[in-house]
Amino acid sequence: MWDTIVKSTPEIVGAGIKYSIPLALISFVIAMVIAVATALVRTTEPKGSGITKFLFKLLKWIISFYIWLFRSTPLLVQLFIVFFGLPSIGVELDAFTAGIITFSLNTGAYCSESVRGAIISIPKSQWEAAYAIGMSYSQVLFRIIFPQAMRVAIPPVSNSFIGLVKDTSLASSITILEMFTVSQQIAAKNYEPMLMYCMVAVYYAVFCSILSIGQYYLERYTSRYIVTGG
């Protein structure tokens, strides 16, 4: 048994390093950009009048639709539509790109809600205190609101990130040679499915555990000002 484990480890871990981890990391970064941008739009009340107000409302509506769409349909189906479906209307993507796009949009939709919740959890009085000393919108956002909102957003966003890591295994269904695909291939050759799938499960667990530890320290850091007593 040791022999089999030692022999297949480089292949499975290699697939993780080459595909699973990049899929998860790149998708997560893009997802966060989407999440923050859409959450900001959704938490902003349109000012001004006429056409700008209308366009802003339209944008809000499109974002709500996007979030609804990606949260109400299965991720596997989304992957199939992007990779197998889009070519029929002339959009051909390689598997890795299709994976990144789908995972980013899917995780972005979930994280958008987490980030929005975190932003509106910061009292309006913090915005006012910051505006009152002459700060601009972006200064208030980056220096006052985000540092506080981060603390609130970290638990749900970590959940999404860990979910994303495990969901990259679905990429096996669109021909990406990530960890789970490779373990399936090896199992088909050495007739050790139990061992192979348990092994790959352990590797996913290791990666997710590292993220959990990261979450712990990040939470501790962003909560450092929540001290009680004099």
């Binding site: 205190a129 009152a132 000393i133 006052i144 001290v227």
Partner: protein, 244 residues
């Protein structure tokens, strides 16, 4: 000098400021009094542009604003720097240390060097007797201490006017006294201040001018002596209501 002409602010169902004409002299303390809902907060917040009235002219320093027109972002920020604000619930930034709370504006808005901003912050902390708290976070301080820090935060921007919206209403009497002592000192140093308060004793002692507001209108404008010693019937009723 700070001046308002024909300022109107309407909420959906409420005329919060009704044709306000006021001048606030430099180096003086003006106290705004009036019953709850009179529009005192709305008036202060309009001076800091946290609220924007629908109509009227607002002059401060070399800026003149017509509220019926759009105010440019740049001018808005400039006017906010000229008018420091101290809130009833102080609203310190919880994620920043006391020192950072005070230097945040000077460094990032006024673009002072960190060293200059910190030297000045330490001077202000000494002024309010809290120099040993600079490395703590706000929630390690009492309400009275936090309010004094928020006064430092406003002072650090070197504004022309400081606006206080019921700065001691959320405090116990002995903590209130600590904060009022700071205001008293500022008044003696001829800092221009506009103070909304329910503390009549403070108004009597410090106000160069008292403005009495009711239903969004100015009902009285004059000296503390006139207000307390020669009150109109309406003010007499208000003063009686405040004692028990």
């Amino acid at each position: 000098m700070l001046k308002l002409e024909h300022v109107d602010k309407e909420y959906a169902d409420h005329h919060a400021l009704n044709d306000i004409n006021l001048e606030f002299q430099e180096h003086e303390t003006t106290v705004l009094l009036g019953p709850s809902g009179a529009g005192k907060s709305t008036l202060l917040r309009s001076l800091n542009l946290l609220e924007e009235p629908e109509r009227g002219i607002y002059q401060i320093s070399d800026h003149t604003i017509d509220f019926s027109k759009d105010i440019s972002n740049k001018e808005k920020l400039q006017i906010r720097q000229l008018t420091g604000m101290v809130f009833q619930s102080w609203n310190l930034f919880p994620h920043l240390t006391i020192l950072q709370n005070i230097t945040e504006g000077p460094i990032h808005v006024l673009k002072q060097s960190k060293a200059d901003a910190e030297t000045n912050a330490e001077r202000l902390l000494k002024l309010v007797g809290l120099e040993d708290t600079k490395n703590r976070f706000p929630n390690q301080l009492s309400g009275g201490q936090q309010q004094r820090i928020s006064i430092c935060r406003a002072l650090a921007m070197n504004p022309e006017y400081i606006l206080f919206d019921e700065p001691t209403s959320a405090l116990d009497p002995e903590l209130e006294a600590q904060v009022l002592r700071v205001l008293l000192e500022l008044a003696e140093e001829k800092q221009s201040m506009i103070v909304v308060t329910h503390n009549l004793e403070f108004a009597r002692r410090v106000a160069n001018k008292i403005v009495f507001l009711e239903n969004g209108k100015i009902e009285f404008e004059g000296t503390a002596d006139e207000f307390f010693n020669h009150p109109t019937d309406r003010i007499k009723a208000f003063l009686t209501g405040m004692t028990f």
